[in-house]
């Protein structure tokens, strides 16, 4: 069975640009969460979506947005990129029990 898949795996963007990261959850999983992991730190919660509705939002600026599609895949969008947005962006999916998260391998975003 395919796990949580994220695309792209690596990305380089310039300050001020916009980026879209994509996540496909495990088949049957209805919840998708996004986390940002800066080097040397633990992952930080950005969003959770369940059944296409936002259920939770972390302490991130409005430049960060996300959505979940009818097939439960998800996109994370970041506008007006800053150097500090350089991080590993992790997507996690679960059926409904949030503590059964399965994480993807992440998208490494570098802003130059």
């Amino acid at each position: 069975d395919a796990g949580v898949t994220q695309s792209p795996t690596h990305l380089i963007k310039t300050r001020g640009q916009h980026v879209t990261l994509r996540c496909s959850p495990i088949s049957g999983h209805k919840s998708v969460s996004w986390y940002q992991q800066v080097l040397g730190q633990g992952p930080q919660f950005i969003f959770q979506y369940y059944e296409k509705e936002e259920r939770g939002r972390g302490n991130f600026p409005d430049r960060f947005s996300a959505r979940q599609f009818p097939n439960y895949s998800s996109e994370l969008n970041v506008n007006a990129l800053l150097l500090g947005d350089s991080a590993l962006y992790l997507c996690a999916s679960s059926f409904d029990a949030w503590w059964s998260y399965t994480f993807g391998s992440g998208t490494r975003l570098t802003v130059v």
């Binding site: 633990g42 992952p43 993807g104 992440g106």
Partner: protein, 113 residues
């Protein structure tokens, strides 16, 4: 404000000995705690969890202990194996069920043969 702290960035132990990884938290509303391990170039992998109604949970070589009064949890690995040499994160969540996990900064374990 770091609500979950792993104060030891790294830990080195001999193969076959016990590894003890520690985690402290500040929010008394946390009621569920998890440990993840993370290999390079992969996402975190769930290892073991514990509810606040328990003080111990065991799964094979891994045991998590929770001391609510001290707001402290620890992960014991016995016996430690070289393949256990990865980064370990503790995480906590409250009962609001928003899917938000608060992670510590991680501890890199090195098990020497």
């Amino acid at each position: 404000d770091q609500q979950v702290k792993q104060n030891s960035p790294s830990l080195s132990v001999q193969e076959g000995r016990i590894s003890i990884l520690n985690c402290d938290y500040t929010n008394s509303m946390f009621d569920y705690f998890l440990w993840y391990k993370k290999y390079p170039a992969e996402g975190p992998t769930f290892l073991i969890s514990i509810s606040s109604i328990k003080d111990k949970n065991e799964d094979g070589r891994f045991t998590v202990f929770l001391n609510k009064s001290a707001k402290h949890l620890s992960l014991h690995i016995v016996p430690s194996q070289p393949g256990d040499s990865v980064v370990y994160f503790c995480a906590a969540s409250g009962s609001s069920n928003t899917g938000k996990l608060i992670f510590g900064q991680g501890t890199t374990l090195q098990v020497k043969p």
